[in-house]
């Protein structure tokens, strides 16, 4: 009976409409944030920051962007990585070409640029749905990567489109260490996740979900399909764009167009499938799962191989990784389409009744 709302009576609608209406959730989130901002910087090693935590946050942000579009507004997209690429190259170019532009401003501009491109590639969604729309977004994926390689201006005439990002200067202070980069990424991701949570619990989100669940009924109620869908494309791409800028500036430092491959788009899609389609938290769970699973298998498989005296080559390990991935995705698609977030929900419902079975 640790997790219960019993006794927490809502006497006003305001109390019932809080971001996290159940007290334990509220406390949980605050603790999590405190740990992320203050605990982790004290404990984690440099490797953890640059190889695990920073990419986790960045991919969680991209997954969140895709989740807004696919999970909430119901428009399938296979172009997430391409929108990240737009963000990365836009941020680079704003830094390069606009004298004295603050880094954060160029991140915002990068998001806006991606949003613009997103709207453009979202236009087919006004006519086509589902599988066919996915194919149209596939076009975005290839076209954008092609553009970035084809037009040298976009990468300041570097060979094969590789860019090395500028210095990270925030409020006159240069960020050098992984911890500082981590804190920058964390702040941006937390802010944007809260903003997303706010959007999906208000009219904006309800309009998206209405279009997703039953578009004829939505339009009869007065929701205009075109602006609603395009807004979802814009905001989703904004999130992916900012994620792309962070990916280039805070994670890799140097990127090339081909790095933002279709494979990466699929990876982001798998994150939301496994984490939970239509769930903010699911985006984080999915990103953690997809990024940590290979690391876990890398360590665990050789260990077991040795234990049982099996000859595992590194090629076998990567084959097994792919197999496990495929199996998991099939599992979630068939058994639990709402992903880890739903499993978490079920666990909470059980916990609510615990220790009484009914």
């Amino acid at each position: 009976m640790l997790y219960r709302e019993a006794g927490q009576f809502k006497t006003t609608y305001a109390a019932d409409q809080q971001l996290f209406p159940i007290r334990q959730d509220r406390i949980g989130v605050l603790v999590l944030l405190a740990v992320a901002f203050f605990g982790v910087p004290l404990l984690a090693s440099e490797y953890w920051f640059s190889a695990i935590l920073i990419p986790f946050l960045i991919f969680a942000l991209a997954a969140l962007g895709l989740n807004i579009l696919t999970g909430y507004a119901g428009q399938l997209s296979l172009g997430s990585a391409a929108f990240m690429a737009v963000g990365a190259y836009a941020a680079y170019n704003f830094q390069l070409r606009v004298e004295g532009i603050p880094l954060l401003v160029s991140f915002i501009c990068a998001g806006l640029t991606a949003a613009g491109v997103g709207i453009l590639f979202g236009l087919p969604s006004l006519r086509i749905k589902g599988f066919y729309l996915a194919v149209a977004t596939l076009a975005a994926q290839f076209f954008i990567v092609w553009c970035l390689t084809k037009f040298p201006w976009l990468s300041n005439n570097s060979s094969s489109g590789v860019i090395s990002t500028q210095k990270l200067i925030i409020f006159g202070h240069e960020l050098n260490t992984p911890v500082e980069k981590y804190l920058l990424v964390l702040s941006i991701v937390v802010f944007m996740a809260l903003a997303a949570k706010n959007m999906v619990r208000s009219t904006t989100g309800r309009a998206w979900m209405a279009v997703r669940d039953m578009d004829v009924a939505a339009s009869v109620i007065g929701i205009r399909l075109m602006p609603t869908k395009l807004l979802a494309f814009a905001i989703s791409s904004f999130y992916c764009g900012v994620a792309g800028a962070l990916y280039a500036f805070c994670y890799l430092g140097s990127v090339e167009p081909d790095g933002f491959s279709l494979e990466m788009s699929f990876k982001i899609l798998f994150m939301i499938i496994i984490g939970g389609v239509g769930s903010i938290m699911g985006s984080f769970l999915g990103a953690a799962f997809i990024l940590l699973l290979p690391i876990f298998l890398d360590v665990a498989l050789p260990f077991f191989a040795e234990l049982f005296g099996l000859p595992f080559s590194s090629a076998t390990v990567s084959h097994i990784q792919i197999t496990v991935f495929g199996a998991l995705i099939m599992f979630f698609l068939i058994v639990e389409p709402h992903g880890l977030a739903r499993l978490w929900q079920i666990a909470k419902e059980k916990l609510r009744l615990w220790p009484f079975p009914h």
Binding site: A210, D213, V216, A217, A218
Partner: protein, 260 residues
């Protein structure tokens, strides 16, 4: 009943609607007066649902004129019906399956909420205030329909009869001046039907909402409607107060012919 039936607010003149070779509606004229309960009846495939879809702009008739409050309505899109205060429910429940009862009904008020997505994202300005104000209205609807106990339930988990009630709630949340109901009692048991009848009559009575209703249950139709239109194979074969329609020979024939 002591209510006052007003002037004609919706006038349909010579409406014809075709889908390829299928004539769904042929040269149909009828009107709806303010505050009345107007029933549309007819055998399966008669064109009743198509008629509602014409009224709220989902279908566009090839011929005919529509006057709304005396003005001819030109090309109409579905979302414009909402702006003109016309709400509806569907024959096959069209709730938003992934959302709770509360959110479904809140969505019914969407045209009345003005905050934009930036205000929502940052939860400032009109966003917070509107959410509270409209929640209050929505709770009134929830009380009216006696569904307080399920307000947080995802609609997909509700039994059929309750889903129909929630869909009515979503329509009522818009505070419509005209309500189009497509078989609101289909598939319900006697008790649920009685509840639904009561709600429809109360809406009509308390809020003065004009109601256009499609229903197969003749008992219900003759009981609660002020005037009835009868369609058969896309043509109008009867129009008048229940008693008139009941004794209309064409109507009797159509119903006997259709095996009723």
């Amino acid at each position: 009943m002591s209510k006052k039936i007003g002037d004609v607010i919706l006038d349909l003149q010579n409406i014809s609607l075709r889908f390829g070779g299928v004539k769904a509606l042929t040269d149909i004229s009828f009107n709806v007066k303010q505050h009345e309960i107007r029933a549309i009846i007819g055998p399966n495939g008669a064109g009743k649902s198509s008629m509602l879809n014409v009224i709220n702009g989902v279908y566009h008739p090839q011929e005919g004129k529509i006057f709304w409050h005396g003005n001819e309505r030109k090309k109409m899109e579905p979302h414009m019906a909402a702006q003109q205060n016309i709400a509806r429910t569907f024959q096959n429940i069209a709730l938003f399956k992934g959302m709770s009862v509360l959110d479904n009904i809140m969505t019914g008020r969407i045209t009345k909420m003005k905050a934009n997505f930036i205000e929502h994202a940052l939860w400032f300005g009109r966003a917070r205030k509107e959410e509270l104000e409209h929640r209050k209205k929505v709770e009134e609807v929830i009380d009216f329909l006696e569904i307080q106990h399920i307000r947080k339930t995802p609609v997909g988990r509700l039994p059929y009869g309750l889903q129909k009630r929630v869909e009515l709630g979503r329509a009522l949340a818009a505070e419509p001046s005209m309500l189009l109901l497509d078989e609101p009692m289909a598939g319900m048991n006697v008790e649920e039907k009685q509840d639904m009848c009561r709600f429809i009559l109360d809406v009509n009575d308390q809020f003065g909402t004009t109601i256009v209703l499609i229903e197969h249950d003749m008992g219900v139709v003759m009981d609660i409607s002020d005037r009835v239109v009868v369609l058969d194979y896309g043509k109008k074969i009867g129009d008048g107060v229940p008693d008139e329609v009941k004794n209309n020979e064409d109507v009797i024939k159509a119903y006997l012919g259709a095996g009723h």
